[in-house]
Amino acid sequence: MSDHTLVCDNVVRRFGGVVALKNVSVAVNRGEIFGLVGPNGSGKTTLVNAITGFYPPQEGTITLDGQQINGLKPFRIASMGVARTFQNVALFHGMSVLDNILMGRHIFMKPNPLASFFYPWWAQKEEVAHRRHVEEVIDLLQLAPARDEHVDVIPLGLQKRVELARALCAEPRLLVLDEPMAGMNQEEKEYMVRFILDAQEALGLTVLIIEHHMDVVTALCDRVLVLNNGQEIAQGPAREAIADPRVVEAYIGKPRHAA
């Protein structure tokens, strides 16, 4: 086995006439935080969707720890250890925070109507075991006060944190975060960064993160890939890639403060 958790090789994805990804290749090392940046519509989310199975690539291969995963259904890929969050928060709004996070344990449970109907003691025991695990994650992300709230009444920042918690509960090998800090102010961003770092440290995760906040990207990511129009325009250590003139032109713009 290589020391790459995720390898995308010449991935191509088209939507009708639009080529959203053109031969994108990337390799994410184990334990690394890898950034994915680029202008809007450059294909970042599409790449993540290709990895997680929603829009399987039409060409190219994606491997997870050496195992090919492209073509598999999203739930299969999830059970192989890929967890993700969404650009637009995708929580189960009919459930409490706790149940949402418990859903993260789904791949370890075997939902079975019969067992559910009778709820025998072994099912109860299983439930409690998972609950214990969930409580640990809740502690880690400081979600305890919101545990019994309904998810749609809590503020967006907390919702994003719940989504992160749900992903963490799946004990993933690869955690994919799609703009976890969109719509947050400085303080909330700082919290989020802290949680991501803590989680990565505690669970030894590999993280793939899409983010538009350059300060966060440079602080958090070991390496980044910059996409533009579905094509790679730069790749490498965060600060270097972002300083690339093509990236500045297409994505960053000239610095606001000259100073």
């Binding site: 929603f54 999830a78 459930m95 418990l102 559910s116 109860q124 439930e127 709230e149």
Partner: protein, 357 residues
């Protein structure tokens, strides 16, 4: 007042997931159950046979449907057809000599399989399209039932239920039929509540709320939806059989027509989507409210208080029924369950005015 919240703490995760966390609730449920069991002793046969018994059975049907519509979010406008399959299957099985207990189970399975096939066919779509697809299923099943004499029993299309016994008790007297129906409805109720607190139930809700988000944490949407259709159709099929054997004691295709499907959906909605108590309340309300209101108006008409024509009077139940559906959707979209909940909350926090959340 009645409820005592203070002093009830949960010291284990298990206790936190109990069905009835508050002792008062527990006692209430036990009390109701005893009352229900003893109903044949103190309810007149008229009321038992034409109000209580159908209410119990339709509650079971509403529970079956709300598993699919309320928890899994899969709209189904052809559930009467599922029940028809169960009813016809059970009668033919019993006639063929299969013991009643087994026939119930088998008819449930047959409904489940057919229901899941139709469900599976429609799984790519949701919302309005699912409504239409299930509606088409209703028509197809209706057609097959009417046009295949082997199923409907020929031109007159009425099949009588043979005499049967359940676990050696003959299901003949009104009380026996009532108890069997009650037993099934209670069983379904407990099932349903268990489902809600286990991973299967959560997976259903997840599929309903955000199917792609469910997929990304490892829920197989297709399988889960199929399972929902299967389970719900199983429950509906057995309920159909119970309806045939315990209530109608004869089946005709009209008993399971499109309007019955609508009525079931109305029960589920008026009760409150996905709610146990709502299924009971909704079934009772939709079934009985038009009857009582019409009786009231015809009583008034007979006494000459409100001069209305026979024609108008006869159309009144329809009007009431339609107005009731509209009224609930406009005034309390969350249904009777929500009203119940508000009342309960009121007592929970009494003497304070507002609940914490």
């Amino acid at each position: 007042m009645f409820y005592r919240l203070s002093g009830t703490y949960h010291t284990s995760y298990q206790a936190d997931r109990k069905l009835w966390k508050i002792p008062t609730d527990r006692w209430l449920v036990i009390g109701l159950l005893v009352l229900a069991l003893l109903a044949p002793l103190y309810v007149s046969p008229l009321y038992l046979g034409s109000y209580v018994l159908p209410w119990v059975i339709w509650s079971a049907a509403a529970l079956s449907l709300t598993l699919l519509m309320g928890l899994a979010g899969q709209l189904h406008f052809g559930f009467a057809a599922v029940m028809a399959i169960g009813a016809y299957a059970s009668i033919h099985l019993v006639r063929a000599g299969v013991p009643f207990e087994l026939a119930l189970l088998l008819s449930g399975l047959i409904s489940a399989v057919i229901g899941a096939i139709f469900g599976g066919a429609a799984l790519r779509v949701k919302g309005l399209y699912l409504v239409m697809a299930t509606l088409a299923m209703q028509y197809l099943v209706d057609w097959v039932v009417v046009n295949v004499p082997a199923i409907s029993g020929g031109a007159h299309a009425t099949l009588r239920t043979p005499a049967v016994s359940f676990l050696f008790f003959p299901i003949e007297s009104l009380s026996a039929r009532y108890w069997l129906a009650l037993g099934w409805a209670v069983l379904l109720t407990v099932f349903f509540m268990n489902v809600k607190r286990t991973s299967f139930g959560r997976a259903l809700v997840a599929i309903r709320d955000k199917d792609f988000a469910a997929a990304v944490i490892g829920v197989d949407p297709f399988r889960t939806k199929l399972m929902a259709f299967f389970t719900s159709s199983f429950m509906g099929g057995v309920t159909g059989a119970i309806l045939a054997f315990c209530f109608y004691r004869a089946v005709t295709p009209e008993q399971f027509g499109f309007n019955v499907s609508i009525q079931l959906v109305a029960m589920v909605l008026v009760g409150g989507l996905g709610s146990v108590i709502g299924s009971w309340l909704g079934a009772g309300f939709v079934l009985l409210a038009p009857i009582f209101l019409t009786n009231l108006v015809s009583g008034l008409a007979a006494s000459g208080w409100v001069p209305v024509s026979q024609n108008f009077l006869s159309h009144l139940p329809l009007m009431i029924y339609g107005a009731m559906i509209i009224g609930f959707l406009l005034l309390e979209p969350l249904g009777l369950a929500k009203i119940y909940d508000n009342i309960r909350k009121y007592f929970l926090v009494w003497p304070f005015r507002h609940a914490r959340s």
